[in-house]
Symmetry: C2
Subunit: 144 residues, 2 copies
């Protein structure tokens, strides 16, 4: 193709975003996978419970925007690792409230700290204004 302004993949925002997302996740992912054998969805569910308190699987789905089958399997995994405990709710036996165990809380604390460390390291080379702009941009793209 011999266009005037040939379109390069690096000019394509979804491509750039995906590459950046992959690169930025890699190290952190290998941390929680290596240390706790956790998957990404498990980390997200754990995070939500640790950060916002006990809630049902449905609430995790809504808050985190993850499909219920993924949450269901993540909870099963976290349960078998004893990071999460299920508590059946009396008034409606369909629901079960998910609580972090003591171990779960300590994993949450560790991962959160590590996440903050990663984040700080990644953003260290940018000014505060830049970071603010980036966040605004990404949030808008993601329509969060």
């Amino acid at each position: 193709m011999q266009d005037d302004a040939p379109f390069d993949l690096r000019d394509f925002m979804p491509y750039l975003l995906n590459q950046a997302a992959d690169a930025s996740s890699r190290d952190f992912q290998s941390y929680y996978k290596g240390k706790y054998g956790m998957l990404r969805t498990e980390w997200r569910v754990l995070f939500h419970l640790g950060r916002y308190g006990a809630m049902t699987a449905r609430q995790v789905c809504d808050r985190a925007g993850i499909h219920k089958t993924k949450v269901s399997r993540a909870v099963a995994a976290l349960d078998s690792k004893r990071f999460v405990r299920r508590e059946e709710m009396a008034h409606d036996r369909r629901h079960e409230e998910l609580h972090l165990t003591a171990q779960g809380r300590s994993v949450f604390a560790d991962l959160t700290q590590e996440a903050q460390r990663f984040d700080a390291a990644m953003l260290a080379e940018f000014t505060e204004t830049e970071v603010k702009q980036i966040r605004a941009f990404l949030t808008r793209i993601a329509r969060l």
Copy 2:
């Protein structure tokens, strides 16, 4: 370092990047999937061949940073769709040069145009300066 500024997922750059990447890819992905039954790797391989000319699978791997098994499968798929044609190289029968067929070229043209349209639409709400900063930021994160 703790509860003073509670850490939110939206403050975590890998999360933000992933959400933005997913959101930005969704529509374009459903376009090439719906219209041509293509997968992401197939689109990328097709793009490389269309944009940079015929090359071997290995060269696609290197240029695009995709693992050879993924490329191998993508090429097989593109071949069976008759978007790509394999040409064995005389001096070394291990290599085969990949060429777009006429059909492949027209799909490439369509997808490239569509990609540019998507990109323009996505970036329309940002100033040129902002876009430049974003690109610089993402490129740096992705270490391209």
